[in-house]
Amino acid sequence: MALLEVKDLQVYYGVICALKGISFEVNQGEIVSLIGANGAGKTTTMQSIAGLIPIKGGVVNYDGQPINKVPGHKLVKMGMSQVPEGRRVFQELTVYENLVMGAYTQKDKKKIKEDIDEICTRFPRLGERKKQIAGTLSGGEQQMLAMGRAMMSHPKLLMLDEPSMGLSPLLVDEVFNIIKDYHKSGTTILLVEQNAKKALAVSDRAYVLETGSIAASGKASDLMNDESIKKAYLGE
């Protein structure tokens, strides 16, 4: 069953058309990635689904109901969570406070504490830095924090926007390992990446975005062996 279904999504910035009607779906339990170059519309797609930018046309169905008109803040309660591009952790708050913000829709204080402990086990470095101001963390640590924060709401669908951006190769591997690991615990994942190679390696299926339209789609393993994709995105 499709957990997220996007049909003919159109988004404009003023008169500029950023998404020319794209369609894709994410089934329950899958990892799906959207890959593509800078400016292809990947982040626009993510932000419009989350209600950060208005949708001009098309339908977004989540969990069987249309969410075009649902205010963004309600989507979190419905089980959608996003790790935004550029991490966007709350710089002036501590690591701990950031995680508490992630649990904004959760009411049970005891459960929130337990969840924070669990996140700190998943990301030991966050555990060591609980009291540290998030703005003083390194890029990798901020990425971990942004991911931990998004996990605090117990999402059914976790959307990650460029989680590997600006990280060292070692950290990129770590981030992808965490995504794989988290997926195993039963969360459906939509991943947006410029690092197509890594993204395809963890995904079930993928869509290739090119200047606002879907240029190709299919099983990740097939796309990895596709000659034109290899040339354009995998640098082979």
């Binding site: 803040h73 935004p84 550029g86 709350f90 913000m101 924060r149 998004a150």
Partner: protein
């Protein structure tokens, strides 16, 4: 001694108003130039209650309620439709709301200044100086209100959501925070603080007219900028600083005609030396 206490209590009034400016700026990213006129609305609400033989305490409650509602209504009708519009459009709207409030109250209450008596509380002897009780009251209640606000922001779920929205509205939305609701609450709190300020202000200057809010509004805005607009401790510091400077200047005969010039001069100096204000935070560059 007297001067210091008077300055501190005037400072507390400025600080209460400045908090409204700074919170709205921090969270809604707009300058609410109608904020000063909310003080005037609160003052008239108090006057009407007193004229209807209401007790002063009732008057304060009515004033706070009226201002809170006014703040919410202004935000909903004037500013909310402009969310995402250019800052200039919002700014001009705020000036429009300011004139609207002044004109409406002039239609209702007339342009002539009206006297108001909030009772004489007498004076107390403190450290060998005769200090009026209303000064002490302003200082104490003002400090308590500001302490409560600080705790509210730091410790409550809504307070933390306000911090989150002020830092990154989009990321706050992704946490499931209803940004519109937080902005509304901010206006409500700011306006309630303005109502408190209006009561204290009338204790010092017992006369009111439709333009009553302009001067304290501008002074408090100056205080907010001096302290660092967007910063809550900054607004408190800026307010107190400005209040003390004003009273000290007024007490020196040679300087007293230039009091306002000194205050705004300070603003210019601060803006030159430290444009983000005393306690303002530098905006980090996004990576």
């Amino acid at each position: 001694m007297n001067i210091l206490f008077n300055g501190l209590s005037l400072g507390a009034i400025y600080a209460l108003i400045a908090l409204g400016y700074t919170m709205v700026y921090g969270i809604a990213k707009m300058l609410n130039f109608a904020h000063g006129d909310v003080i005037m609305v609160g003052a008239y609400a108090l006057l009407v209650t007193l004229n209807l033989q209401g007790h002063i305490a009732l008057g304060v409650v009515v004033s706070v309620v009226v201002c809170t509602v006014a703040g919410i209504v202004i935000e909903k009708l004037a500013y909310k439709p402009l969310r995402g519009a250019s800052p200039l459009a919002v700014l001009i709207t705020a000036i429009g709301v300011s004139y609207l409030l002044q004109s409406v109250s002039q239609l209702i209450f007339g342009a002539a200044p009206q006297p108001i008596t909030i009772g004489n509380f007498g004076t107390v002897n403190l450290f060998g100086a005769e200090i009026s009780t209303s000064t002490i009251l302003t200082l104490v209640v003002g400090s308590v209100i500001m302490a409560c606000l600080t705790v509210f922001i730091k410790k409550t779920r809504t307070g933390r959501a306000m911090v989150a929205v002020s830092e990154d509205r989009g990321a706050a939305l992704l946490m499931g925070i209803n940004v519109n609701r937080i902005i509304m609450i901010t206006f409500a709190i700011g306006s309630a603080l303005a109502a408190c300020a209006s009561v204290f202000y009338l204790m010092q200057i017992p006369s009111l007219e439709p333009t009553l809010g302009s001067m304290p509004g501008i002074k408090a805005f100056t205080a907010a900028v001096i302290g660092g607009i967007g910063s809550i401790p900054g607004a408190m510091l800026g307010g107190v600083l400005l209040g003390v400077i004003e009273k000290v200047c007024l007490s020196i005969p040679a300087l007293s005609p230039y009091t306002t010039a000194v205050e705004f001069g300070l603003l210019i100096v601060i803006l030159l030396v430290r444009p983000i204000g005393l306690l303002g935070k530098k905006r980090r560059e996004k990576v």
